[in-house]
């Protein structure tokens, strides 16, 4: 189908964009790459009155490479991350993930900020940024604030982004030289949204370990017991399997069916084994 009628504005600064968003008399939606929003508009699942195009805002395209973190503007595309055109804080984890995200013609337009803002439960970046202990920086009418990505996404397509706020940047801590990462995405076809997604980050030098499940019927799910097992090093597969299973069962609000519970266990096992191997 075709998208419904809509107004369109392309502000020149982030402040102007936030003003437009805060003072719009119709439902205003921010558009960056539009790879989910335009699909939803074409399917008439979304029909905003005004689109505020932020894709070209210079503030949202900048990348800062500091001693302890890389800060990516919200409108950095998946393709830019895939190609290594922006600094990588994650020793190849983020480029590797970007390359599996949708198709190239989606990645050239889709942005990291857009992925976070939508927080599709099966999307990669909310889970990956939570696993990397990244922060998201929001800019709105009342100023700037920052939140941990692990707290930013609160549920299925639900976040703490206020109506008058725009995601400005994501600040991703740099991994130590000897940090290890694991990543497994289970889906039937290359580029599809995940049926199960597991990300493992082990950075002993910073005392940091985290195992996160994506596509988990809600916000990215941190597997606490499993993360503690990873700290202790190589384990027998049965101990690992039961830790993952018990972490999943503790999240009783997720209502995993047997098939998906098993998929998550397989994804997490394989991702942990990448780190411990």
């Amino acid at each position: 189908m075709k998208a419904p009628a809509v107004d369109y504005m392309r502000p020149r600064t982030l402040t102007e964009a936030v003003d437009l968003l805060a003072h719009a008399s119709v439902e205003a939606r921010v558009i960056a790459g539009g790879q989910s929003l335009l699909a939803m508009m074409n399917l008439r699942l979304a029909s905003p009155g005004l689109l505020i195009d932020i894709a070209r805002l210079p503030e949202l395209l900048t990348v800062a490479d500091d001693a302890d973190a890389v800060t990516l503007g919200a409108c950095v595309t998946h393709a830019a991350i895939e190609d290594g055109r922006v600094a990588d804080p994650s020793h190849g984890l983020m480029p590797r993930i970007a390359a599996t995200l949708g198709y190239r013609a989606i990645r050239t337009r889709g942005t990291i900020g857009g992925s976070l803002a939508l927080s599709d439960p099966a999307a990669e970046w909310p889970a990956v940024l939570a696993a990397l202990d990244a922060e998201v920086i929001l800019y709105g009418s009342s100023g700037r604030r920052s939140l941990k990505c692990s707290e930013f996404t609160t549920g299925i397509f639900q976040t703490k982004l206020a109506d008058n706020e725009i995601i400005e940047r994501a600040r991703v801590p740099k991994l130590s030289a000897d940090a290890r990462c694991g990543y497994v995405k289970l889906c039937r076809k290359s580029g599809e949204f995940a049926d199960a997604l597991a990300v493992v980050v082990a950075d002993p030098r910073r005392g940091y370990w985290r195992v996160v499940c994506g596509a988990a019927n809600g916000a990215p799910l941190v597997l606490g017991d499993t993360s503690r097992l990873v700290v202790e090093g190589p384990r027998d597969p049965d101990a690992l399997r039961s830790a993952i299973g018990s972490d999943l069962d503790h999240a009783s609000d997720r209502h995993f069916d047997d098939f998906h519970r098993n998929l998550h266990i397989v994804a997490a096992m394989r991702a942990v084994q990448q780190v411990l191997a």
């Binding site: 075709k2 809509v6 558009i31 539009g34 195009d53 949708g102 050239t108």
Partner: protein, 161 residues
């Protein structure tokens, strides 16, 4: 209505467009460039793939007004492009199309794979084509044609980017 200026296949075009108009509909209905095909109109089938500033995009998921001051290349373009010339020949020789609906976007996607050096093996090519559906299920010959063109281009210009 929103005024835009866009370069299409090398020619400067100015128009005044309703913002909801997709790049695909702009090309097909206003510029009569009907080689860009619309299958699903929600980013799954890949039939509408064109280049914007040299990078492949879904023209059904791109607003025409967002292409203001950009350069768009459609299948009607690519005159004098050596990679596209090789692909057109190998598609022809390998019978890499049946109904032809997916072909323009297959060619544009294949060209991008070859230029990014992602067409080195059958597996890599199949992976790179995951976002382009062929409902005649003619993938085998499409993959062969791309592999052949990639080999040819690689030989001619080992440092081609």
């Amino acid at each position: 209505m929103t005024a835009i200026r866009v370069r299409i296949n090398g020619s400067e075009v100015a128009d005044d467009l309703p913002p909801r108009l997709s790049l695909a509909d702009f090309l097909r209905e206003r510029r009569n460039l009907t080689g860009t095909h619309l299958g699903c109109e929600h980013g799954v089938c890949g039939a509408c793939t064109v280049l914007v500033d040299g990078e492949p995009v879904r023209s059904c998921l791109t607003l025409a007004v967002a292409c203001d001051e950009r350069a768009v290349e459609t299948i009607e373009g690519f005159g004098g492009d050596p990679v596209m010339a090789a692909l057109r020949r190998t598609f022809h020789q390998n019978h890499a199309l049946q109904c032809g609906f997916c072909t323009p976007a297959m060619l544009i996607t294949a060209r991008d794979l070859i230029l990014r050096r992602r067409a080195g093996s059958e597996g890599e090519i199949r992976d790179g084509l995951a976002g382009n559906l062929c409902r005649c299920t003619g993938y085998t010959n499409i993959v062969t044609a791309i592999a052949e063109a990639a080999k040819e281009i690689g030989k001619e210009a080992p440092n081609a980017q």
